[in-house]
């Protein structure tokens, strides 16, 4: 009986790619190891930690960064020490579920003064994302290079996700308009926790205890509800390709992401300061 001819379609290119990738991929998995016998680093700067070391780092950096919030390197270490086991993988999967997030993971853009020309950003129109970002950088006196490198996350791709989050933190300030004062930082951290679920951002909310009473009441009444409401319902901000959004209107980007503008904290604080000054003047005059 005649049998129809059938061809096996070879796709050797696929096979060799898959094979090479599989055999060359690092098997740096979660096998427990001792401090005397660390596995090799998965990426430049990687420091594999044992579980005890990781716990110690988390506790130590948490306590010290609460006492001295200017220690941004401790805050970074806290973020990395508490990101595993579940949270950073969830964030990476959130990136993988989104087409833009996948593009970011593929291209691995970094934000630094090499890749972002600050001069060009200063020339953008006032309402753009890029201009807001560079104005903010200038006002606070920081540069895009002040972010420390990720060291304590074992999976190389998750280390990039953490690095990307850290570098985009300044853009979140620009988009929401929250200033870098302690109050603004805490509010932004609350928003980030609701949106990205990184534990360090949630733990940073403990800094509420260090705020002044009036600031604290303002936080609980206004900024915390704003943060939760917007963090939960907006798009994942980790999936925004900021380098491509620099020339967009800030309000338009905010609307697209689903973030509503919080009350301008800088203005409120300015008004309070003026109010206090006026009252002091009146007291002095009355005397």
């Amino acid at each position: 009986m005649e049998v129809a001819s059938s061809r096996i379609r070879p796709a050797t290119r696929t096979a060799s790619k898959v094979c090479a990738a599989c055999t060359s991929s690092s098997t740096s998995s979660s096998r427990p190891f001792s401090a005397l016998n660390r596995p090799p680093p998965s990426y430049p700067g990687h420091v594999p930690l044992t579980r005890v070391e990781r716990a110690g780092l988390a506790v130590g950096s948490g306590v010290m960064s609460l006492l001295n919030p200017y220690r941004h390197d401790l805050i970074a270490a806290l973020g990395e020490a508490t990101a595993t086991p579940y949270f950073i993988y969830r964030l990476r999967d959130a990136m993988l579920s989104d087409p833009t997030g996948r593009r970011i993971l593929r291209l691995r853009p970094r934000i630094s003064s090499n890749t972002l020309s600050v001069e060009k950003l200063r020339q953008l129109p006032a309402n753009t994302v890029g201009r807001a970002y560079v104005d903010w950088l200038d006002r606070e006196g920081v540069s895009p290079d002040t972010r420390s490198q990720v060291r304590y996350i074992d999976d190389e791709e998750c280390a990039y996700v953490m690095q990307r989050y850290r570098e985009c933190h300044d853009f979140y300030h620009a988009v929401t308009g929250l200033p870098i004062v302690r109050e603004g930082e805490v509010a932004l951290k609350a928003f980030e926790f609701a949106n990205t679920l990184i534990p360090m951002t949630g733990l940073s909310m403990l800094a509420v205890a260090t705020l002044k009473p009036s600031e604290r009441s303002r936080f609980w009444s206004t900024y915390f509800p704003w943060a939760v409401r917007n963090g939960v319902r907006s798009r994942e901000v980790i999936n925004v390709f900021w380098e491509e959004e620099l020339e967009r209107d800030v309000g338009e980007l905010r609307a697209e992401l689903g973030i509503e503008r919080p009350p301008d904290l800088r203005e409120i604080r300015q008004r309070e300061r003026e109010e206090r000054k006026r009252q002091k003047e009146m007291q002095n005059q009355g005397r």
């Binding site: 796709a11 696929t14 790619k17 898959v18 098997t27 996948r102």
Partner: protein
């Protein structure tokens, strides 16, 4: 009348009336009474699939039942099945995994030697793992325990049916009505010769009508015999399709030519299984949603192969994304494979080719008939039950049914009783119903358990799987139950 009674009472009086004598009685009868059905048979089996063919072969082989007058009714052309021959580089895409118990039964009835053995692949190890957590269970007989290390035999369905047909032709004594569709089944009439008012009469598209002492429905999930008997079949559709394909792998397996391994990964959309065939070939069975199945069937071979390789390597998040792409999965896999650490020897070797025209899909459902028997009716195989292919048990259940039914018929005949009477068929129903029900239920619950993508159930099921993997006696128990060689539980 004498002729009729001689035929009906043949089993009691003269078990071995020669064929020509009984036929000569019949011819006389036919000339005298034209309203009678063309032929009266002891057993009419509707359905020429593995279950029906096994049943008839077993009846012909068994010395007690070999004298019975049997007929086979099949809607398709059996000459195509008889002439099944494909080159060693091509395999049919519908394959089944035969347990050692089924293989032993086929050997007993003499059909095993008629299968093209070069196209049957036995495998000695099975790797099953959870796609979400990576928890794994490895099935292989411990060294030195069982005499043969084979877990199961991968066979093309056509190879099996053609082997059975060859054996049946060798034995002879079966009236085969192929290319005949069943037009209707009704009860016969009373006449001077015989009172056939309680006998089912099958009317065929070729004009013949066959009266049956026992009508066996081996005619698949939409069985007309079951409908005639008024037996309800209850269950549900899984909203899943099983995608099958014949693949060429890059090598003949990590264990080499003589130690083949079957793989199954539980994805949230359904299990994907890669089962070994002779040489570098393998058959794919991927249970997934209808939307995903239609995408897989439309993909170019290069992208289809990338999806298959991804199904065993990448995370469910990546797979879900790749299912939304119309093309370019090849590229996506190459990128993601670099960032997904996996030990290559724990997963199947990469698929490098797909046999043209072998990508197909079929809907998955679960059905179980209320009972397997009725007056002068018995159901075997898919007519009685349909199961999820998650554990590869469907065809083996049918073979188990056949063995049990043959035992029941043999008992009735050897005790001089009417083999179609429900009293003697009851033994078959009670032997098989509970066992099948449990197996169908287990497969259903496994499917539901592994459909969960997140939540507390995921780590729990991984702990359970690892526990079973670690407990040797428990694992051996499950393996024995699945292969049909274990203690009879029900």
């Amino acid at each position: 009348m004498a002729a009729g009674r001689a035929l009906l009472g043949r089993a009691r009086a003269t078990p071995f009336v020669c064929r020509s004598c009984s036929q000569s009685f019949q011819i006389r009868a036919r000339r005298m009474y034209s309203t009678r059905p063309n032929d009266i048979y002891d057993v009419v089996c509707v359905g020429g699939g593995p279950a029906g063919l096994s049943l008839l072969t077993a009846l012909r082989v068994n010395p007690v039942t070999t004298g019975l007058r049997v007929a086979l009714v099949e809607a398709q052309d059996l000459s195509k099945t008889r002439s099944f021959s494909l080159p060693p580089t091509q395999f049919s895409n519908r394959c089944s995994s035969l347990t050692p118990a089924s293989a032993h039964f086929l050997d007993e009835i003499g059909a095993w030697s008629h299968l093209q053995r070069g196209r049957v692949q036995e495998y000695q190890e099975m790797q099953v793992w959870d796609g979400v957590t990576g928890a794994r269970i490895e099935f292989d007989w411990p060294p030195g325990s069982a005499s043969s290390k084979t877990i199961a035999y991968m066979t093309e369905n056509l190879n099996l049916t053609s082997g059975l047909l060859k054996r049946l032709d060798e034995l002879g004594g079966v009236d085969v009505f192929d290319n005949s569709r069943v037009q209707g089944i009704e009860f016969g009439e009373e006449s001077e010769d015989a009172d056939l008012r309680e006998w089912p009469v099958v009317k065929l598209s070729g004009g013949q009508s066959l009266a049956a002492r026992l009508l066996v429905g081996a005619d698949g999930a939409n069985s007309p015999v079951r409908a005639f008997a008024g037996i309800e079949s209850r269950g549900w559709d899984y909203d899943r399709h099983g995608v099958v394909a014949t693949l060429e792998l890059e090598g003949d397996g990590w264990g080499g030519e003589y130690s083949k391994i079957a793989y199954q990964r539980f994805l949230p959309t359904g299990p994907v299984a890669m089962l070994p065939l002779p040489g570098n070939y393998a058959t794919l069975v991927w249970s997934t949603t209808p939307v995903n199945a239609s995408l897989l069937k439309k993909l170019e071979p290069r992208d289809f192969l990338a999806m298959v390789n991804a199904a065993f390597r990448l995370s469910p998040v990546d797979l879900a994304y790749m299912h939304t792409q119309d093309q370019g999965q090849d590229d996506e896999l190459a990128w993601r494979a670099q960032h997904t650490p996996v030990d290559p020897e724990t997963i199947p070797q990469a698929a490098v080719g797909v046999q043209e025209g072998s990508v197909a899909s079929f809907p998955l459902k679960m059905r179980h008939a209320d009972t397997y028997i009725s007056d002068r009716v018995a159901l075997v195989g898919d007519a009685a039950h349909t199961v999820h292919p998650i554990a590869g048990q469907g065809l083996n259940q049918g073979q188990g049914d056949v063995q049990s039914l043959v035992r029941a018929i043999e008992y009735a005949v050897s005790h001089g009783q009417d083999l179609g009477a429900q009293m003697w068929l009851e033994q078959y129903n009670s032997e098989r119903y509970a066992a099948n029900h449990v197996l169908i239920g287990v497969c259903d619950k496994l499917h539901k358990l592994y459909s969960v993508e997140s939540g507390p159930l995921v780590p729990l099921r991984s702990v359970g799987l690892k526990a079973v993997n670690a407990l040797g006696p428990l694992k051996s128990f499950f393996m024995e139950q699945a292969s049909g060689t274990g203690i009879k539980m029900f």
